[in-house]
């Protein structure tokens, strides 16, 4: 581990120890938050007993579907928009202001349109993630040097083939940035929707545990979500570094 990595690990360890100390000494009372070691033990208990497995599976599956939809439609949408300057210009203010709008307000609308199943939550996750993918993919496509496209045309490749073999691979690091956002947003969308109105999933369980002062369930579930999202993000960042490293950046 590098020296800086070491400092960072020490800093995080120190923060956790501080938290542990504050909890054990009673400065943070048990009702507000259990000590970190307790949270970890409770998490282990939950995972081993499998009591939350259905909820965990439901949330992660729905978030994955929302993510996949956001990625596919986002990338395709960006490629389509990239070729049509006027359409892109018209939509750009919408993209720029999109994330200030409370997308969750559309949740009731989606429930009426799609019924009470999993679809509305996936819809919210998708709606939140897709614009981040579009904006970042467009950014990457903008940066593809024209000479690379000309080279592909000289090779007599068709439009779709050029997009798949040249434009998108060239834009890949930027698309990855969009993917990172979409991962976070799909989780936010699904869990937030589960908070508001749902019959299952981790958001529902956390909300239920909160109402019942069940910290032994609530905190471990929160920790699990944080761990999953940080792990995925770290993996994507590492991949991004590899891609950029090959390009000497």
């Amino acid at each position: 581990m590098t020296r800086i990595g070491l400092y960072r690990a020490l800093m995080i360890a120190a923060a956790v120890l501080l938290l542990e100390g504050l909890c054990l000494s009673g400065m943070i009372d048990r009702l507000t938050m259990p000590p970190p070691h307790r949270i970890l033990l409770d998490l282990a208990t939950i995972l081993v007993s499998g009591s939350q497995n259905a909820a965990i599976l439901k949330t992660l599956t729905n978030a994955s579907i929302a993510l996949a939809l956001a990625l596919v439609l986002g990338v395709v949408g960006a490629v389509a928009l990239h070729g049509h300057r006027s359409a892109r210009e018209i939509l750009e203010p919408l993209f720029a202001t999109y994330y200030a709008v409370p997308i969750f307000a559309f949740y009731p609308l989606l429930i009426v349109l799609m019924g009470l199943g999993d679809a509305p939550q996936i819809g919210i996750g998708f709606m939140l993630g897709v614009v981040a993918v579009i904006v970042n993919t467009l950014n990457g496509l903008d940066r593809v040097p024209r000479v690379l496209r000309k080279t592909a045309r000289i090779q007599r490749l068709g439009m779709v083939e050029i997009a798949l073999t040249v434009t998108l691979p060239c834009a890949a690091p930027y698309v990855l940035t969009g993917v990172k956002f979409a991962v976070a947003y799909s989780l936010i969308g699904v869990i937030g929707a589960e908070f508001i109105m749902s019959r299952g999933g981790m958001g529902y369980e956390i909300s239920f545990a909160y109402t019942n002062f069940d910290n032994a369930t609530m905190y471990p579930l929160i920790l699990l979500i944080l761990a999953v999202s940080i792990a995925i993000n770290a993996a994507l960042s590492r991949w991004e570094k590899v891609l950029l490293g090959r390009r000497g950046q």
Binding site: V147, L148, K150, T151, I154, Q155, P169, C170, R246, R247
Partner: protein, 271 residues
């Protein structure tokens, strides 16, 4: 004037007008141009900046369509589609940064009707030919500018094009590297028997490499002089020692000087 059927590439009355973004009169970048390229000849074009040399190259390659006139390659009209058998090396670095050298060169065979094993062999051959064999697994970011251009040339050669278009391929390189690359291009030209069309702003480069050199006027570019060098096919950079070399460059500069002055905004009569 009819197209000469023996010419490899034939341009008749070609002009290119770029449409104006605001809807007014367009910008005439080029023309009218009438010229034939003979099979297996080395043809160079020199001219002041902005005269339309690159546009001319793109018209021949089929990357863009002529506004008036016709372009023919091997007897067939070039319009909108890229014909088979053409290779282009651009001025900018066109290596794909996410692929290693070998994969870059192999990209040139995407549309080739060869078995996979044959493709691998062909790529190896060209890598050896261009002196890139030991860098096969390296990424373009790890190579110098000259080597990256070699990779682009290799990618063009691997599909065995019959017409090779080079748009100021050595523009970003230093003088010594340019001379050596020029010799390499001559070697490849003789080895492949392809017709070579080179755009350059370096007069000595054109004079050394080409069988015929066209001088273009300032925008809109037309051909104002066409020089035959009568060099032997087996030539290298020693050609610069001949007295005729000086005569060729002198004639090039004489034709070019007035046009260049026009481009930088000074009237031709002044010093």
């Amino acid at each position: 004037m009819a197209h000469t059927s023996s010419a490899h590439v034939s341009l008749r009355g070609v002009t290119k007008v770029f449409a104006s973004a605001t809807g007014g009169a367009g910008l005439q970048a080029l023309g009218p141009v009438d010229v034939d390229l003979r099979r297996s000849e080395f043809f160079a074009v020199v001219g002041p900046s902005g005269c339309g040399k690159s546009t001319l190259l793109e018209l021949i390659a089929g990357l863009t369509a002529a506004t008036t006139g016709s372009v023919e390659f091997e007897g067939r009209r070039v319009a909108g589609d890229i014909p088979d058998g053409i290779g282009v090396v651009f001025q900018e670095d066109a290596c794909f940064p996410w692929l290693c050298v070998e994969a870059n060169v192999a990209f040139g065979l995407r549309k080739a009707a060869l078995a996979a094993a044959a493709k691998v062999r062909r790529v190896r051959e060209v890598l050896d030919l261009m002196g890139l064999a030991e860098f096969a697994r390296a990424y373009p970011a790890q190579l110098s500018g000259g080597m990256r251009q070699r990779v682009c040339i290799a990618r063009t050669l691997v599909s065995e094009p019959r017409l090779i278009l080079l748009d100021e391929p050595f523009g970003a390189l230093d003088q010594q590297t340019r001379l050596l690359m020029g010799e390499e291009v001559l070697r490849l030209w003789r080895g492949t028997g392809a017709t070579v069309f080179l755009i350059t702003h370096a007069l000595d480069e054109a004079a050394m490499l080409a069988d015929r050199i066209a001088v273009m006027s300032a925008r809109p570019g037309r051909i104002i002089d066409l020089i035959e060098t009568h060099w032997p096919r087996e030539r290298d950079s020693h050609i610069v020692e001949r007295s005729e070399f000086g005569a060729v460059t002198a004639r090039l500069w004489k034709s070019l000087r007035e046009e260049s002055l026009k481009t930088i905004g000074r009237p031709a009569g002044q010093a």
